[in-house]
């Protein structure tokens, strides 16, 4: 047992494989924070002071890639960007396009935060792509679930529990992922419109045979305070993927459906277009970034009414098919609290992502009805509350060990 007080920095543990992760968990005592690349280190509730930080960035690399089966097993500390660049020569990829991947987010971190990007419209989030996991629990138990095949219903799917657990249930060490072919070609059709018109246009896309892989609206405003209010000007982005020969025809039909103002983004500008979208998802300094989900039809109205959203100081993105949005709002604790309440009142859910250091606003909205089960699962897997104390406060905090004294 290490005695530590609040003035001592936590010990950093840097394992390199399953065995050393297990040893690090067993050899340490008290509160334990799991860290990846740090691209979402502050998301969710503020961590209580902990005794140790388990730095997973040394647990990296592909364990096995089976191109014919389109599966890969990988250490959780591997940045997804790197994994995808290793898979690219085989024409395969993990079909996830979360905004922070470009910043080096790890596979484990993306699973733990349940992050996803616009392509969730077709591919879902990592919960839909992970087919097997190996997790180390607080008592050193190594638990595997799932396997190496895409179709598998044997046993409980523990990967789902880890998805969105923000490092509070166990350490994800190995992940088996289902892969998809890298599309031969992609193209994006864009239409400039204010938020209030986005739903109508999106409906025309969704009602047609276009099969977009992403359907988003993003504000022109990046929240830096210059230019129009975030709700007033923006762009509908529709991405389609397919074969060289077929895609032009599909894009032409899509453009026609959206009317004469729609344009096909030039191939060399497409990446930049989506990078601008990702930038709005991430928000900027001075923002409190709220991730929220609600019925697509309710989302534009809900978003426009959030405190501070209809100003040049906000940046907004909305998945018009997925019902998943991000609002980078001026950082104001009361406004964020009101935003959580508004989302909840509309039947949605919300989670706070990046915000300025010391921001006092709540990370979560009201607890879900199943909070009792969440607490019971937490108690079953981490009875001493070692992992990520404070992350889900006030939902399922146990008597947290925080730092041992």
């Amino acid at each position: 047992m290490t005695a530590a007080d609040d003035t001592t920095a936590p010990t950093t543990l840097r394992p390199t494989d399953l065995r050393s992760v297990r040893e690090a968990v067993l050899d340490s005592a008290g509160g334990l924070a799991i860290a990846g690349a740090g691209t979402a280190a502050a998301w969710g509730g503020d961590l209580d002071a902990v005794d140790s930080v388990l730095d997973m960035t040394g647990v990296t690399g592909v364990i096995a890639h089976n191109p014919g089966d389109m599966t890969v097993s990988v250490h959780a500390g591997t940045p997804l960007r790197r994994l995808n660049s290793e898979l690219a020569p085989h024409g395969q990829q993990v079909s996830l396009d979360a905004a922070r991947i470009a910043r080096g987010a790890t596979v484990g971190g993306l699973v733990a935060t349940a992050d996803a990007g616009p392509a969730a419209l077709v591919h879902g989030s990592l919960r839909d792509l992970v087919i097997g996991t190996t997790v180390v629990l607080a008592d050193g138990t190594v638990a595997r679930s799932g396997g190496h095949v895409i179709k598998n219903v044997a046993g409980y799917d523990l990967a789902k529990l880890v998805h969105g657990s923000y490092g509070t249930l166990g350490v994800l060490v190995e992940v088996v992922l289902r892969l998809h072919p890298v599309p031969k070609r992609t193209t994006t059709v864009a239409l400039d419109c204010p938020l209030a018109e986005a739903s109508g246009h999106a409906r025309r896309v969704l009602d047609g045979p276009y099969e977009p892989v992403a359907l988003e609206w993003r504000s022109d405003s990046d929240g830096s305070g210059d230019g129009p209010a975030a709700t007033e000007a923006g762009r509908l982005l529709v991405r389609v993927e397919g074969t060289e020969d077929a895609l032009s025809g599909r894009a032409r039909r899509l453009r026609a459906a959206l009317g004469p103002a729609a344009t096909e983004i030039a191939a060399d500008a497409e990446a930049e277009e989506w990078a601008a979208h990702a930038e709005r998802v991430r928000g900027g300094p001075g923002h409190a970034v709220l991730r929220l989900g609600a019925l697509p039809s309710a989302l534009p109205g809900l978003l426009a009414a959030l405190p501070g959203a209809a100003t040049p100081d906000a940046a907004l993105t909305i998945g018009l098919g997925t019902g998943v949005a991000t609002a980078a709002l001026p950082a104001d604790a009361e406004a964020i609290e009101a935003a959580h309440r508004a989302v909840h009142a509309a039947g949605g859910t919300s989670a706070l992502r990046d915000r300025p250091t010391g921001f006092g606003g709540p990370a979560w909205g009201p607890a879900p009805s199943a909070v009792g089960v969440l607490k019971a699962v937490k108690t079953a897997l981490d009875p001493a509350g070692r992992f990520g104390p404070g992350r889900f406060a006030p939902w399922f905090e146990l008597t947290s060990p925080g730092r041992t004294t």
Partner: protein, 484 residues
Amino acid sequence: MALEAGVRSAFARAIGAENVIDDPVRCRSYECDGLTGYRVVPELVLLPRDAEAVAAAVRMCAQHKVPFVARGAGTGLSGGALPVADGVVISLSRLKRVLEVDPVNRRAVLEPGVTNLEITAAAAPHGLYYAPDPSSQQVCTIGGNVAENSGGAHCLKYGFTTNHVLSMEVVLPDGSVVTLGGDTAEQAGPDLRGVFLGSEGTLGITTKITVRLLRTPETVRTLLADFPSVSAAGDVVSDIVAAGIVPAAVEMMDTLAIEAAEEAVHAGYTVGVPAALVVELDGPVEECDVQFEQVKAICDKHGCTRLHIAGGPQERAAIWRGRKAAFAAVGRISPDYFVQDGVVPRTRLAEVLDRIARMGRDAGLRVANVFHAGDGNLHPLVLYSAAAGETERAEKLSGEIAELCVELGGSLSGEHGIGTDKACSMPKMFGEDDLAVMHRVRGAFDPDGLCNPGKVLPTPRLCGERPGRYRPHPLEESGVIERL
């Protein structure tokens, strides 16, 4: 030990005496599911009329510590709905309303007793459908699909039940009612919805389910191709995948399965060829046209001996009828058979088929193979004659095939579930610690162990017993469902 009279009347008071079956003869109708070799007559069958009554029934079970088993249509093939001695069956058959179809947000809200096909029927007027399509879809219910995380022929491209269910209202084993998931896939906190889906009725009972609906694809192209060997057909599948094509479905049948299916439904399959593939593409017209030509070229390259392209919906339906009839049809070429369900990595298909053929020869039994080739999900059919005393040998071979799948890096089950049937094989696939952690998760939902006990995870008591022989399910006998 039977239920005490006081407990029986407590159930009658809780949900109404007219909704309780306690006549042992009538209770016998619930003694098994689609895995007919295992039979247990429940003490009582409860037929609640609404979600409140389901919760009241479960609260009563919790109060009196009575084990309970939820039951949908009873088509499951792994004994997941097998009653528990001294326990009650809670049938969801009366909760069968489609509560809402929301074409704008592409969702449907359903009670658990709605059949899989009824969802698509309700969505179709809006140009929408529900994607997972287990082959018992005419009768199997969405509540059962949630419990089993059902797949179907088209799950290679479209995924399983877990990818299409957004939320569920669940009665937990203590009788409390919670919602898992929500209006969108974005939910704060650990994904309890995902844990519940596929938990085979061991974590609670669903009383309301919200599913995603998809737009009906613009076009569908289906072909049936014959090959000189199973490995040539397997190479076609590999090449399709390598070309970056994700077909809506790829199904393979071997010579025995083809023979049986053709004899049964005359769908136009070529009797005597070693292997046949059904490949289906769907999506935007331009994309399907391009990829369909690629698939045809790949078939030619691997020595396809006959290529039949469905000329319209009727021909397409005929191809699928042949494929789906294969299971029941095997009854025409063998007096008895066991259906197995296992998964191997797709690249090991040829190897596993070779091994299965050898194991069959060694056991002196024939094995027909029908499988979802795109995702490596095998359904070997072990043919035998009970009259000739082959039952035990056949059952042993069938079990060994499932365990072979695990040995080759696959899974004990791709879609039928573990249930009662394979609980004792789970240690072949998972270590002691893995199973102990699953047990801990189960305990978090159900600390008293009342909810579908004895399923999924092995127990010493269960694993000491032996099932009876396979007997056809009544729905199978009447041709309503197939085993697949």
